[in-house]
């Protein structure tokens, strides 16, 4: 986020008269380019070039074994006409909504872990972080066992309270939420780490002053922690939104193709996978991917506009 002001400053620096100091700074800048070259090259080859290609192929019919023919905007027309696209989009927005729940959860846990005198903080931190570094496939499989309608632990526990056994991931009305819950479970640890670092950066004097004025823990949380954490929260919400809009692997693992709820849980990227890799419709899949990118870009822009209203930069 600070990239833009930095480049602007660098540009204005470059326009100044070439004093020796400027020359050496320009020299430093050139060295800097060399340092970012490996990353930049990787980005160009593996992200930027494929992106341009995807955009181009979205206007073609792509043969399953190579070769393509220009079809204009046919693919985009197909995408917008297809009801499954709208359904997948709806599902994806639900995932996004559920996924964002990880943020308040992580903030609360972070605030609790930052209490003075709490022992074993690093252990808790590690425990919360473990789900995030676990392979999504392993996460999906284990949760499928927990959710299993016949032998699952969840049904067993609910059974003690007289709740009927339920097929969580194959009932269309619960499947999205069952998967969403796993998403939240596996990402909370990541945001927790970020928020804990953010809270650490808040000067302790604020809390001490507030305490002297008689503010309780809740009051301190809402009037000091939350506002001063807002830049971190903003960063986390952008990342979280983008990630949950691109969600795929967990759904793919947890659902399987014969699940009656498969249409009710399919995400946009899941549909992309189906089109591109199963149904030989790479062109339409490229169009879909591009529209998703536009959507993500649009929502991210919106977030950047809205941040002025709620983010406090210290």
């Amino acid at each position: 986020m600070s990239v833009f002001p930095a480049t602007a400053a660098a540009k204005s620096a470059g326009r100044r008269a070439p004093t020796s100091a400027a020359r050496s700074s320009r020299h430093g800048r050139r060295a800097g380019y060399w340092f970012i070259a490996p990353l930049g090259l990787g980005f160009a080859v593996f992200y930027f070039w494929p992106m341009i290609q995807t955009f181009y192929f979205s206007f073609t019919e792509f043969g399953p074994f190579g070769g393509h023919t220009w079809t204009g905007t046919d693919n985009y027309a197909r995408v917008l006409r297809d009801v499954t696209v709208w359904q997948a989009l709806g599902n994806t927005l639900i995932y996004c909504g559920i996924g964002l729940l990880a943020l308040p959860l992580a903030i609360v846990i972070a605030a609790l872990l930052n209490r003075r005198g709490l022992r074993g903080v690093s252990l808790y931190r590690a425990l919360y972080f473990v789900p995030f570094v676990t392979l999504p496939v392993a996460v999906g499989l284990v949760w499928n066992w927990l959710y299993n309608g016949d032998f699952g632990l969840l049904n067993e526990i609910l059974g003690w309270f007289g709740v009927d056994r339920h097929y969580w991931v194959s009932d269309p009305s619960t499947a999205v939420f069952a998967i969403g819950a796993v998403m939240v479970w596996s990402t909370t640890g990541y945001y927790l780490i970020i928020f804990m670092a953010g809270i650490k950066a808040i000067p302790q004097d604020y809390y001490e002053a507030a305490e002297l004025d008689g503010a309780g823990p809740l009051r301190r949380f809402f009037t000091i922690t939350l506002p001063l954490l807002s830049p971190t929260l903003f960063f986390a919400s952008v990342i979280c939104m983008i990630q949950s809009l691109q969600t795929f692997d967990l759904i793919y693992i947890m659902m399987g193709e014969k699940n009656p709820a498969v249409g009710d849980t399919q995400s946009v990227v899941g549909l992309f996978y189906k089109w591109a890799f199963m149904e030989n419709a790479q062109g339409a899949a490229a169009a879909l991917a591009f529209l998703l990118m536009l959507l993500i870009a649009g929502l991210t822009y919106l977030q950047f506009r809205l941040q002025r209203k709620w983010v406090h930069y210290g």
Binding site: G149, Y167, F248, K258, P260
Partner: protein, 421 residues
């Protein structure tokens, strides 16, 4: 991104032991004018059998060696398509009916008709329907290596407990329904039958047995009255509680239920015999017979074929291998390994004898009545329509007639698009 690395590492992990095994067998004779063919396949259970065949082939052709490239089923087709594009596809590889026409139509397979005529490959020793599955526009592109039919597997202990006679070749759908009702025991969570939403094992056989069809002259059979009757026969058993709903079979499939003796009867492939045999309880009291007769007695036949990549630069050697694989010796070895039924007529005895406790000959008997697995040029497109549309009806929510009709309409649209493209 994460997913892709995962696929690759899984692939590497799966193929590592195989590659190691192959290089052992090669005995360091690599290089020096020797042609090395790569052979793409997906089933780890068949690797030992294939290696025996390869050893026999290499003895006959000392100048050729064959290396197995094992890719897990889940990524086999995507990997193959990508490697075709990149020019790194295996020289010879397994093909199935679902994908065959797509490959043949795009000229990425080597036509075999001339080779067959020249070397007098014994094509007529393989089931005709199966051979025809791998011909496109009058040209043969693949030679079958094995075949699969679907049979009715049953648990004798559960039948004894319910005090009813075992299924046999005289059974009709009425017998199946009656037995399913008797065998169902909710207290022990045992179901009489599994109306699993599985096209090859359950949906298609039921539609065919009811006198319906899936694909005929480029048109969908899902709207056909008899096809619907077949599907209704299945959903009815779910509605009555004699079969678990599909929502429950997502998590524990029919096969798993049968293995754990929670299902008394299931449809399953002949190729699964080996795995059934490995379950001690089923080796002891599992049984198999032909599918019960609906309006007609039938089953679905499908088999894999060996094909040669049109981009291979070792086509002469590749053809020698495919020719060998379609012959008697390879079939004998394959049959003895007990994994699948070899498609070569008269070599199936070894397979039958490999599991004497099971009456496997029923699978062979059914070949005569079998209907080939339906496919078109872009089969996956209309196959992908089936489960999402039929899912609710197979989960006890009713409405199979409407769902089948909608499916028929959407499938017809997909088939029309396929013709137009």
């Amino acid at each position: 991104m994460r997913r892709r690395t995962l696929l690759c590492s899984g692939l590497a992990a799966a193929s590592a032991p195989v590659l190691a095994a192959c290089s052992d067998e090669g005995g360091g004779a690599g290089g020096g004018g020797r042609t090395t063919l790569s052979y793409g396949m997906w089933d780890p259970a068949q690797v030992p059998g294939m290696q025996q065949i390869i050893a026999a082939f290499e003895k006959e052709h000392p100048d050729i060696s064959v290396r197995i490239e094992l890719t897990p089923w889940a990524s086999y087709w995507t990997t193959l398509k990508t490697s075709m594009r990149g020019g790194t596809a295996p020289d010879v590889f397994w093909m199935n009916a679902v994908n065959f026409q797509l490959y043949a139509a795009h000229d990425v397979l080597e036509p075999l008709s001339e080779h067959i005529a020249r070397d007098a490959t014994p094509v007529d020793r393989h089931p005709e329907q199966l051979v025809r599955l791998y011909a496109y526009d009058g040209t043969q592109y693949g030679l079958p290596k094995d075949f699969d039919t679907v049979g009715l597997w049953y648990n004798k202990a559960l039948f004894d407990k319910a005090g009813i006679k075992y299924p046999d070749t005289t059974w009709t759908w009425d017998d199946l329904r009656d037995a399913a009702a008797e065998l169902t025991n909710p207290r022990e969570r045992v179901h009489g039958f599994c109306s699993e939403m599985h096209r090859q094992f359950v949906l298609y056989p039921a539609m065919f047995a009811a006198g319906g069809y899936v694909l005929r002259d480029g048109h969908s059979g899902f709207g056909d009255e008899r096809s619907v009757a077949g599907l209704r026969f299945l959903t009815d058993m779910i509605d009555r509680g004699w079969s678990p709903p599909q929502s429950a079979m997502v998590e524990s499939t029919a096969r798993v239920r049968f293995w754990s003796e929670k299902a008394a009867m299931v449809h399953d492939l002949s190729a699964m015999a080996g795995q059934m045999y490995a379950v001690p309880a089923l080796k002891d009291h599992g049984g198999v017979t032909v599918l019960p007769k609906g309006r007609e007695r039938t089953t679905v036949i499908h088999g894999l074929a060996n094909v040669i990549s049109a981009k291979s630069d070792k086509k002469a050697a590749a053809w020698k291998f495919v020719h060998f694989m379609a012959g008697r010796r390879a079939a004998d070895i394959q049959a003895k390994s007990g994994v699948t039924i070899s498609s070569y007529a008269g070599t199936q005895d070894a397979w039958l004898k490999s599991m004497p406790e099971f009456d496997l000959k029923h699978f062979l008997d059914m070949e005569k009545h079998a209907t080939p697995y339906p496919s078109s040029k872009n089969t996956a497109v209309w196959e992908n329509l089936q489960y999402p549309l039929l899912g609710a009806a197979f989960s006890g929510k009713g409405g199979i007639e409407g769902a089948a009709r909608t499916l028929g309409e959407q499938m017809d649209r997909a088939l029309k698009e396929e013709r137009d493209s």
